[in-house]
Amino acid sequence: MADDIPTLRRILRSARTLAVVGLSAEWHRPSFFAAKYMQEHGYRIIPVNPRYPEILGERCHASLETIEEPVDIVDVFRKTEDVLPIARQAIAIGAKCLWQQIGVKNLEAARLAADAGLDVVMDRCVKIEHARLFGGLHWAGVNTGVVSARRGH
C-alpha cells in the first residue's frame, strides 16, 4: 500500500493518464472537482461512466476495457463493494496504479492489484494528495506533513 510521501510523489509524478471510474458530469460532485483539478494540472482524464457521452471535453467510456490507450492510474469513485471487478479490469488493461478514493476501501481489490504488480493507493483523494505534495493544499491551511529544506516546486 502506497502510504508515504516519496511513493505518492513518484506515482503522481510518473503518471500522465487517469481513467476516472464513476466520474460525474455534475460540477459540484467530488469526482468532477478532482478530475477537473487533475486536468488543469496537466493530466489526461479519461472518464469512465456509462451514463454520459462526454465529460470535461473527453469521450466517456462505458468501462475500462474499451479504452484504447495506455492508462497510468485507475482512479475509483465507486462504492467499496463495486471495486473488485474494476481492479480486475485495471490489471487486464495494464494500468500502473489502482487508486481508491476517500471512503473507498476494498482490501481484496487492493491485494489483487498489488499482487499483479500495480501500485495501490486506498482511501485517499488524487486531488488532495496532488495538492498536498505539490503545494496547493497548503493554501487551505491543511497540515500537509511536508517538512523540507528544499525549494518548492
Binding site: D3, D4, I5, P6, T7, W27, H28, P30, F32, F33, K36, Y37, E40, I102, G103, C125, I128, A131, G135, G136, L137, H138, W139, A140, G141, V142, N143, T144, G145, V146, V147, S148, A149, R150, R151, G152, H153
Partner: protein, 433 residues
C-alpha cells in the same frame, strides 16, 4: 516506509514553510497584497468554484497567513487550521460555523471573560443559548446536554481559575451526544498540550499569547482534528449544499478538512476577521522559539509557586504544576513534562495576606512585573482581578468566576528567576499595611 513523524521542536520551525519556489528565500516572505491575479477566466472560475486551490483575495487566504495556519495545525496534531485577527475571532469563526439559531451550547463556567460574553450575550442575540456548568464535573456536562446541543466548549487550562479540563472525559460526553468538543488551548500552547490527542474536535488559540510570545501582535487560530463525523445527521450545514457558497457540500467535497474550508468560505469570508500577513509573520517569528520559551515559562512559574507557598505573606497558591494542586494528576496525564515534572505553563494565582487592599498594594509596589491585562508575554505580568478585570462583579459573582478578593494573577515571564522572585518578595513586603 512510513513518513518521518517530526517532533514539535522541529515543526515549530519548519511546518508549513519550505524555501520559496520562485526566489529560494529561506525565511518566510511577507505577501503584503490584497489580491492575486487569475491566469484566465476559466482559472478564475475554477478558483471561485474551489475546483483549483489557490489564492484569490487575502480576506480568504494569503500565502504568509497559510504558513501560520499549517504550522499551528501541525503543532496541534490537527488536520487543518484557519487563522483570524484575534483569539476571539478564532473562537467566533469556530462557533459561528458550527451553530445556528435554536442551537444550544454547553460550556465550562469559569471561562475567560471574553468567551463568557460571546456565549452569554452575543450568541444569545442570535438565538443560540448556552448553559454554563462546573468544568470539573463531568456529570454536569452530561446533565446539561439537550436535543439541540451542537457544541461543548471549555478551556484546557482555565484562565484565571487554573482549572484543568479532563479532556478525554468531556469529549466522551460530547461524542455520546454526537457533538464536537471545542477546546480553548491558549494557556498551555500546543507545545504543552494537544487536546486533539485526548478527543477534542476543534481547538482555538489566542496566538497573541504564548504562540507569538512577544506581546506585540494580535492573532487567533482555529484547528480542526479531521476526525469528527459531520455526517451524523446533526450538521446539515456540513453535508447539504451550502447556501453560503455555490451549493458546495463541504464534508463530501473536502472530507477531513471540510469544517475548516467551510469556516473559511462561509464565515471568515463573510465576517471579514482576516489576519494581516505582517501579523502572521510576527507570530511565526515567535512560534519558532515556542518550545524553548514554554520550558522556561514552566520552570520559572514552578519556582515562583514554590517561593510563594513558603512565603509568610501569602495565604494560598494556585498552580497546577504543584504536586498538591487538586488537578495535578490531570496535568501529568495531559501535559508535556518539563524538567522531569508536568509542565503547567506560566500562569499562577495566589492570595495576599490582607485581602483586597493588600492585593492592590502588592500590584502598586511591583517594579519589574508589568501591571496589565495580557498573559503569555516574555515579560512577567501581574494583575489583581478583583480591582480591575472583574471589578464590575459583586463578591458573589466574583466568587462564581473564581476570583477571590485577595487574588493576584501572575503570568510568569522569561526574566531571570532571581530577579522575578526579588520583585515578588519586595512587593509582598510592601503589601503589609
Amino acid at each position: 516506509m512510513a513518513d518521518r513523524s517530526f517532533r514539535p521542536e522541529t515543526l515549530a520551525i519548519h511546518a508549513g514553510q519550505i524555501p520559496d519556489a520562485t526566489t529560494g528565500a529561506r525565511a518566510l516572505p511577507i505577501y503584503q497584497t490584497t489580491s492575486f491575479v487569475f491566469d484566465s477566466a476559466d482559472h478564475a472560475a475554477s478558483l471561485f468554484n474551489l475546483q483549483t486551490f489557490g489564492n484569490v483575495y487575502s480576506r480568504l487566504s494569503n500565502p504568509t497567513v497559510a504558513v501560520l495556519e499549517e504550522r499551528v495545525a501541525a503543532l496541534e496534531g490537527g488536520r487543518a487550521a484557519l487563522a483570524s485577527a484575534s483569539g476571539m475571532a478564532a473562537e467566533a469563526m469556530a462557533l459561528l460555523t458550527l451553530l445556528e439559531q435554536g442551537d444550544h451550547v454547553v460550556a465550562a463556567g469559569a471561562l475567560y471573560g471574553g468567551s463568557v460574553s460571546m456565549l452569554a450575550v452575543n450568541l444569545a442575540k442570535l438565538g443560540i443559548e448556552t448553559t454554563f456548568v462546573d468544568g470539573a464535573s463531568i456529570d454536569a456536562f452530561a446533565a446539561a446536554m439537550r436535543p439541540r446541543t451542537r457544541a461543548v466548549f471549555a478551556e484546557s487550562l482555565g484562565n484565571p481559575s487554573l482549572q484543568v479540563l479532563d479532556i478525554a472525559a468531556v469529549a466522551e460526553v460530547a461524542h455520546a451526544h454526537g457533538v464536537p468538543l471545542v477546546v480553548d488551548n491558549t494557556v498551555p500552547s500546543p507545545f504543552l498540550c494537544n487536546p486533539i490527542r485526548f478527543g477534542a474536535d476543534i481547538v482555538v488559540h489566542s496566538a497573541t499569547k504564548y504562540l507569538g510570545g512577544h506581546g506585540t501582535t494580535l492573532a487567533g487560530v482555529m484547528v480542526e482534528s479531521g476526525r469528527f463525523p459531520w455526517d451524523n445527521g446533526k450538521f446539515p450545514g456540513m453535508t447539504e449544499p451550502s447556501k453560503g457558497y455555490h451549493g458546495v457540500k463541504f464534508f463530501e467535497t473536502f472530507g477531513d478538512f471540510g469544517f475548516t474550508m467551510r469556516a473559511r468560505m462561509e464565515t471568515l469570508r463573510v465576517y471579514g476577521a482576516a489576519l494581516a500577513p505582517t501579523s502572521a509573520w510576527q507570530v511565526l517569528q515567535g512560534i519558532e522559539t515556542l518550545p524553548l520559551r514554554m520550558e522556561r515559562h514552566c520552570t520559572n512559574a514552578l519556582a515562583v509557586a514554590r517561593f510563594l507557598a513558603a512565603h509568610p505573606r501569602v495565604g494560598w497558591v494556585n498552580y497546577p504544576g504543584l504536586p498538591e494542586h487538586p488537578d495535578h494528576a490531570l496535568v501529568a496525564r495531559q501535559m508535556r513534562a518539563v524538567g522531569g515534572t508536568p509542565g503547567a505553563s506560566g500562569l499562577l494565582a495566589f492570595g495576599v495576606q490582607g485581602g483586597l487592599a493588600a492585593g492592590v498594594r502588592f500590584i502598586e509596589a511591583a517594579q519589574l512585573m508589568s501591571h496589565l491585562a495580557n498573559i503569555g508575554d516574555t515579560r512577567t505580568l501581574v494583575i489583581h482581578p478583583a480591582s480591575t478585570t472583574h471589578r464590575q462583579l459583586d463578591p458573589a459573582q466574583q466568587d462564581a468566576a473564581g476570583v477571590a478578593q485577595d487574588m493576584v494573577r501572575i503570568s510568569v515571564g522569561l526574566e531571570h528567576i532571581d530577579d522575578i522572585l526579588w520583585d515578588i518578595d519586595q512587593a509582598l513586603a510592601a503589601s503589609a499595611a
